[in-house]
């Protein structure tokens, strides 16, 4: 069976229950990528959120909830539940939240994204089972539906998360 790759752009998400599917998001900078996977049902989803909170533009959040961590994670959870995933079985993995060489925190988008994401998952009773966050590198994140394997590619090196 050939893998079918689905690209998740910035401020997009994708969910699937097809084992041949691979969900991928490129160019995670200060954004956060979150993969959710229910191994029993082979249901998974991947989202690429750019900004922490939707309150800066509620109208935009109506049209593109995936842009913001708060509305995006909620949308992703709803979508994987709709495909039959169960909250108690969900495996959550996180990547991204890189920053510039910015010790003064002038553009602390990454830190805010990550904090809001953690808080939201915690509120939903979901633990982060693995993560690759911080630093200054760009990351690509893959979710393989057949196995639930999450792979991170950064600076030409791939590793399983």
């Amino acid at each position: 069976v050939f893998a079918v790759q689905h690209t998740v752009g910035i401020s997009e998400m994708s969910v699937s229950n097809q084992p041949e599917d691979v969900l991928v998001t490129y160019s995670l900078g200060s954004c956060v990528g979150l993969s959710l996977y229910d191994p029993e049902r082979c249901v998974g989803g991947l989202i690429h959120c750019m900004l922490p909170l939707s309150k800066i533009d509620p109208q935009k959040a109506e049209i593109t909830p995936q842009m913001f961590v708060d509305t995006g994670v909620t949308a992703l959870l709803t979508a994987v539940f709709d495909l039959g995933a169960d909250r108690s079985r969900l495996i959550a993995k996180v990547a991204g939240a890189s920053s510039m060489l910015d010790p003064k925190g002038l553009f602390k988008i990454a830190e805010r994204n990550y904090t809001v994401l953690r808080k939201l998952l915690w509120k939903n009773g979901i633990f982060i089972s693995a993560e690759d966050v911080g630093g200054m590198q760009a990351r690509t994140m893959y979710l393989h539906l057949a196995t639930g394997k999450t792979v991170i590619r950064s600076q030409k090196v791939e590793r399983e998360l």
Partner: protein, 284 residues
């Protein structure tokens, strides 16, 4: 001959933009550019005119009346917007090439350049500065030096990246250590050859070092827009986010977390719109 002189020498052999297109870019830098100026600038290039009209029609998609002339486009979209569309059409072929040595796949540099142009424009609006054509133009062209270094001079960026990581210094500083020059200076030298106005050249020259030259606000605008777009992951190369934002530039523009996030949000939406317009214009 030093590495730096060698690189600058080679620049003189580069003509990345046809003369007619270059003329259009130069003409549109005038902030007072009128509809008449735009029309005259486009006059010699029917191909360019037709592309601009296609984009203008995509921009007003859904309207029953089509834009059929430059006058029409100006009446519907305003001089400033048509001027920006023209700039995007002219500059796109230059920044659409993949930048091999810098790990930028095809279209990534275009995305990044267009986003920084749009972002600089939004920042000007939020900082209550007069919207400046030079900020948009400089945004579109700020990384043109990467094309020259990475594609035309086939410089391999791996040792530069290694040095940056080992010494924990920004990527542009590593470029200067290894090449005696960085992509900002290379780009600015090219734009100077093209006789673009000094604010555009300066903004490109100092977009990673906005505290060296503080004479033009447009430098800070491009610097901050670049930082935001890098953070947003819009068109990242091999070096990722490895640049240093300037706290002084942030203070000069009086940027807050909220302004930054609102501008990044607007920039991504406007970029998607622009990409949609291009896709649609191509499909016609």
């Amino acid at each position: 001959m030093s590495r730096r002189d060698e690189i600058l020498e080679k620049l003189h052999t580069v003509t990345a933009l046809p003369a007619a297109a270059l003329h259009v870019v130069q003409t549109l830098q005038d902030p007072e550019a009128s509809a008449q100026t735009i029309k005259q600038a486009l006059h010699h290039d029917p191909g360019l005119t037709s592309n601009v009209l296609k984009l203008a029609n995509s921009a007003i998609f859904g309207s029953t009346r089509r834009v059929v002339s430059v006058w029409d486009a100006v009446a519907r979209l305003g001089t400033a917007n048509v001027s920006k569309l023209v700039m995007v059409v002219v500059v796109s072929p230059v920044v659409q090439t993949p930048v091999k040595g810098y790990g930028l796949p095809p279209n990534e540099l275009w995305k990044h350049s267009a986003a920084v142009a749009l972002g600089a424009d939004f920042l000007a609006e939020f900082c209550r500065l007069k919207s400046q054509q030079s900020a948009f133009t400089a945004g579109l062209l700020h990384d043109v030096g990467k094309i020259l270094l990475g594609t035309l001079l086939e410089i391999d960026s791996s040792p530069i990246l290694t040095l940056a990581q080992q010494e924990k210094i920004p990527f542009d500083e590593a470029e200067r250590r290894i090449l005696d020059i960085d992509h900002a200076e290379v780009g600015a030298a090219l734009l100077e050859n093209w006789e673009l106005p000094p604010p555009v050249v300066k903004a490109v020259r100092w977009h990673h070092q906005p505290d060296v030259e503080t004479s033009e606000t447009v430098i800070d605008l491009v610097h901050a827009a670049d930082a935001l777009c890098l953070s947003g992951g819009i068109g990242l190369g091999i070096e990722g986010l490895n640049y240093r934002p300037s706290s002084q530039a942030v203070a000069r523009l009086k940027l807050t977390s909220k302004v930054n996030e609102v501008v990044l949000c607007k920039t991504l939406s406007a970029l998607a719109e622009l990409q949609g317009m291009f896709a649609q214009a191509k499909g016609e």
